[in-house]
């Protein structure tokens, strides 16, 4: 229990640190913030009057000292108020809640398909390490991890939307719109996971008791599904946790490419228009997700290893 408490305290420290860093970076970024905000508020207009810029500065306390601005933001956040957008002047929280669904849907579908693919490929590969199938699986995985996700996305659009015209190239709304972004993310995830899962499974096969199970006459299928998989899942869980966090990040790029109205598009527009409250909320969200998911994974992992669950000492190498 105390370890979970420690994690929560750790999360608070991480969030404070990240908020401070993000705030610092955007505070000292070059360029006139008032000008950027004016451009976002009144699109299409050129040459703003000094009075307009000054009124923006006064309204948003842009001339206050760094610490005053930061503490003002922090105080409001502690009361559950993430502020209003500099551009749209609506609550950033409601905008955020409105777009999070798209991103979570995309990330989760990609996670499911990516892991299923990685698992199938790894299970095929380990049947005969070094065989043709194994090498093909590694080649597919290497291509996938060498390929930048934006390039893969563009290729997918070119082939399946432009030439074959099977699915829409961009946009949000129907299930068909979800196909290409999911494919891009899932392929990327599959590539990074296949090689890891493969090596985790091979490591699990290397444990000395597996040989004895064979000598006892236990079938290969039973050894794989009832023993090897359990051992391989312990280290794999950690990787999957990290990957889900990466997936949210990858989703940002994919969403921008496919012009989906998710958190990615929101992050891109708010960074470009210096919409500090929105940027801060998004960064806080990504950091919290990352820490929370990894804490959850640690707990699940601890619960699935009896040696750790009961405070025993693991007797063999733990990967």
């Amino acid at each position: 229990m105390s370890s979970i408490l420690k994690r929560v305290l750790g999360l608070v420290v991480v969030l404070l640190g990240i908020s401070l860093i993000t705030f610092t970076v955007s505070h000292f970024a070059p360029g006139d913030k008032a000008m950027a905000i004016a451009h976002a508020r009144y699109p299409g207009e050129q040459g703003f009057a000094p009075e307009i810029l000054q009124s923006i500065r006064d309204e948003l306390h842009l001339e206050a000292s760094f610490w005053e601005q930061y503490l003002r933001w922090l105080g409001a956040v502690l009361q559950g108020d993430f502020g209003v957008s500099y551009n749209t002047q609506s609550s950033v929280w409601s905008t955020f809640v409105g777009s999070i669904g798209e991103t979570v849907t995309l990330s989760l579908t990609a996670l499911v398909f990516g892991l299923a693919g990685a698992f199938a490929l790894a299970a095929l590969a380990v049947r005969r390490p070094g065989s043709l199938v194994d090498r093909l699986a590694i080649i597919v995985a290497s291509i996938g991890s060498a390929m930048p996700i934006y390039w893969l996305s563009l290729l997918l659009i070119l082939v399946f939307a432009v030439h074959l015209d099977w699915v829409p190239a961009y946009g949000t709304g129907t299930l068909a719109h979800l196909v290409l972004p999911t494919l891009a993310l899932a392929f990327w995830l599959m590539a990074s996971q296949t090689r890891l899962l493969r090596s985790f499974i091979l490591d699990a096969y290397d444990q000395p008791f597996i040989e004895t199970l064979r000598l006892r006459g236990i079938s290969e299928a039973e050894i794989f599904f009832r023993h090897v998989l359990r051992h391989a899942m312990l280290p794999a869980l950690t990787m999957i946790g990290l990957d889900f966090a990466l997936l949210l990040e990858g989703a940002v790029i994919v969403e921008i490419l496919f012009a989906r109205s998710g958190l990615g598009a929101l992050l891109a527009t708010s960074v470009l228009s210096r919409d500090l409250p929105m940027v801060m909320l998004l960064v806080m969200f990504f950091a919290t997700t990352y820490v929370v998911i990894n804490t959850l994974i640690d707990i699940v992992q601890m619960a699935s290893d009896p040696r750790q669950r009961q405070g025993g000492q693991p007797t063999e190498k733990s990967i």
Binding site: E222, H227, P306, R307, P314
Partner: protein
Amino acid sequence: MRFTRPRHILPRPSLTLPTKETALLSIDAMSAAIGQQGILHDISFTVDRGDWLGIVGGSGAGKSTLLKAILGARRPARPQAGSMIFDGVLRPFAKGWSGRPKGIAYVPQSPTHGLDPLRRIKWQWTQLFRCKCCVADYKPIFTALGLPDPEMHFPHEWSLGMQQRLLLAMALVEEPKLLILDEPTSALDTVIAAQVLTEVERIARDKSIAVLMVTHDLALAARFSNQITIMEQGRIVESGPTDTVLNRPQHPYARDLVAHRAWQRAETANA
């Protein structure tokens, strides 16, 4: 219409010999290889009922390959020639039989080699019988070996000595005629190993089970075995009753082993 014979009246793949053969296990001119590389060459020996045969050799002598071949494993080394007669049933190695012959049980060298740490003891016990459609109650054999009720325990919740006795119970529950012990001292501390071996000695005597023990420790083999076979580089170099091998070793390697036995003992005592 196609007639399929029920499985149980198919001719048995192996030949039953007349019972004049007295040895329980006899290996004849057996060889094995990994790829092109020979691992075992011309191995022949016999184990009589009630015997305790110690197979002694350094690492790489082929001891564990031999043991796995007897248990019907085809990997990593593939037996190529020779034959094995166990309990009156002839099995030529070249025929490619696999799977453990009924009546031979195996005790791995340590709990790490025998138990899945992520599965409950009871689950692992029932797994033994799931494929054979029968369930053996653990209570009598656990009591006989001084083991408690496994309840919901995982292996690590028992001491190493208890886990090793559990492995022994898993081997004995099949009522084997031959028990194979794999390096019983290499992974356990000497006190636990000695306890388990004494237990095996008692049960083997009571139930007249023959024991085949593979070890690198000649002193250990001398303490428990009545027959000793010494292997070097995949060949048997010396073989005979324990007294003969210890007092009149012929082969240089065997002489070397015997000469260093006292030193080996002194070292284990100091350790």
